[in-house]
């Protein structure tokens, strides 16, 4: 059964130095607030996994939390480069970043294999690309029935999956809808999981197209309204496209990035602790 706790408690109970962590979300429902908590808790040497690392992974990389990135597309969607990611790859700042790079289809299948408890997944992909030569965990495999050569990709089994959802009930059952990405597979593939939600309700109303993760598949649930910002939660908030555009400028310069992190991530923690102490 999922325990309902604070975000800080959920992260400190699950995300430890050296872990493989998948904070998933395909543009929609990205767990930004949880990522900020990882930065505040100064977790180090993480292997970060995500199909589409964008702003929150740029922040985690720039803050020095990551040793390695497993991914398929690292950019600021519709805007351009991730400057902290590029600085780490091109100049090893603030530390070198090891890459394990795939295609979206490959990553999606790797999560699905992890969720299915299989060691690998099969797809038609990678053939003729330079990706296959530069990435471990990709191999040819011959179909035993037709003789066709296909591609095998190694399963992903993260230590922790972190996602954001629209809501949970008091038992910790989680419900989300809209663009659902690869979050179900990430949670089922991982050993531990954290779900931040817009709200905790008495009971979940059935909703067409919604995915429900039963409480017993989730480790911790924390109520964090607006926890996806600048990403969004369909029905609760809109994508803050202006922030994605602004991030291009903020992240270009190391000092400006550090100042932003102080003001919007670290200082928030201090303010949070003060108000907690005052209670």
């Amino acid at each position: 059964m999922a325990e309902i706790v604070t975000l800080a408690e959920a992260i400190s109970a699950t995300v430890h130095d050296g872990d493989m962590v998948a904070m998933e979300g395909f543009t929609h429902l990205i767990p930004h607030a949880a990522g900020h908590e990882v930065i505040r808790q100064q977790v180090r040497d993480l292997t970060l996994v995500r199909m589409t690392p964008d702003i929150i992974y740029d922040q985690l990389i720039g803050a020095g939390c990551a040793r390695k990135l497993v991914f398929s597309w690292a950019g600021n969607p519709g805007v351009g480069s991730l400057h902290r990611f590029r600085d780490a790859v091109e100049h090893s700042w603030p530390r070198p970043l090891e890459l394990e790079e795939h295609s979206h289809a490959g990553m999606a299948n790797r999560f699905a294999a992890g969720a299915a408890g299989l060691p690998f997944a099969i797809l038609r992909g990678y053939r003729g690309t330079s990706l296959a030569e530069n990435t471990s965990g990709v191999s040819d495999i011959v179909c035993p029935f037709t003789g066709e050569t296909l591609t095998a990709v190694r399963a992903l089994r993260p230590d922790v999956a972190v996602i954001h959802a629209q809501r949970a009930d008091r038992q910790g059952n989680v419900q989300y809808w809209g663009i659902t990405g690869v979050q179900k597979e990430a949670v089922l593939a991982a050993s531990r999981s954290v779900v931040t939600v817009e709200e905790i309700v008495e009971s979940l109303e059935p909703r067409p197209g919604a995915i429900v993760l039963p409480s017993w598949t989730v480790s911790y649930v924390a109520a964090v309204p607006g926890g996806a910002h600048p990403s969004y939660a369909l029905g609760y908030s809109a994508r803050d496209n202006d922030f994605y555009l602004a991030w291009d400028e903020i992240s270009r310069d190391r000092e400006r990035f550090a100042a932003w992190l102080d003001e919007h991530v670290y200082e928030k923690a201090v303010a949070g602790r003060r108000s907690a102490a005052a209670c």
Binding site: S72, W73, P77, V79, E90, E101, H104, F111, R127, D242
Partner: protein
């Protein structure tokens, strides 16, 4: 006639290449602009599919990302990311894959990963593959839209992110790639198609006012000109008005930031 920019000519030419009723797997940026232009002009029944799992999206404005809320809210169906790649793209159900490129070679191979001779120590780190390798492999045909320069149009790409015609004719068959590969490349200088014998891209369409030597000058290989080279008609007034209206509503555009809409007449 309205005046227009080279980018507008490119986007209009790209929109024209899409036929009504096609299913189209759309990359973000210029492919998405062109596909949405086609949908509001000659191809209202174009089925737009984004890798976020939104099938049949009908956005009223150009989305900034492949996951904007408007795509899910207007889609015929929204599926998970493993499903969009495994059930919808992989079997070859999609008519056309619409891609951009950072670098492209004479066989239509695409690089969106790294610039420089070394993968481990790149001079420029690009975002990477995303959905493109499997889009390029599996769609019945691929259309590439990219600005042309000697740097972008290289004899050989630094990294093959997505396979076009590989080392030339026959490569796709040897690799077991099921789709038809890049059948059309649309740039700000003209249109290129693969030679059916060699797989090499040749110039088949020129734009008004742009001379062939200029296009060759901005190509990193000896660009062959098709004997059937045809001039592409300039954008019509209706196309330009529709394109400018579409872009003026895009996130981050001048009008979204409080500026008046662009003047649509000379």
């Amino acid at each position: 006639m309205l005046s227009y920019t080279a980018d507008e000519m490119m986007t209009v030419a790209a929109a024209r290449s899409l036929r009504n009723g096609m299913t189209c797997f759309v990359g973000i940026g210029r492919p998405s602009e062109a596909a949405n232009l086609a949908r509001v002009t000659h191809a209202p029944d174009l089925v737009l599919i984004y890798e976020s799992g939104t099938i049949g999206a009908k956005p009223s404005q150009v989305p900034l990302s492949i996951g904007d809320g408007i795509l899910a809210e207007t889609a015929d169906s929204v599926v998970s990311v493993p499903e969009i790649f495994n059930y919808w793209l992989q079997p070859g159900r999609i008519d056309v894959g619409f891609l951009g490129a950072a670098q492209l070679d004479k066989f239509g191979n695409i690089n969106t990963t790294v610039i420089g001779p070394s993968y481990a120590e790149p001079s420029v780190r690009l975002p990477g593959a995303g959905g493109a390798p499997e889009i390029a492999a599996a769609c019945k045909e691929v259309i590439v839209i990219v600005r042309q320069s000697r740097r972008t149009f290289a004899e050989k790409v630094d990294f093959v992110t997505s396979v076009g015609f590989g080392d030339g004719a026959g490569s796709r068959q040897r690799l077991g790639l099921t789709g038809g590969g890049p059948q059309l490349v649309i740039t700000d200088l003209g249109l290129l198609r693969p030679d059916p014998e060699s797989g090499e891209l040749v110039l088949v369409g020129s734009y008004p006012g742009i001379k062939v030597p200029e296009v060759q000058e901005k190509t990193g290989w000896d660009l062959v000109v098709s004997p059937d080279l045809a001039e592409v008609p300039p954008p019509t007034k209706a196309e330009l008005i529709a394109l400018r209206e579409l872009l003026s509503t895009a996130p981050g555009s001048a009008r979204q930031n409080g500026a008046p809409p662009p003047k649509s007449s000379r």
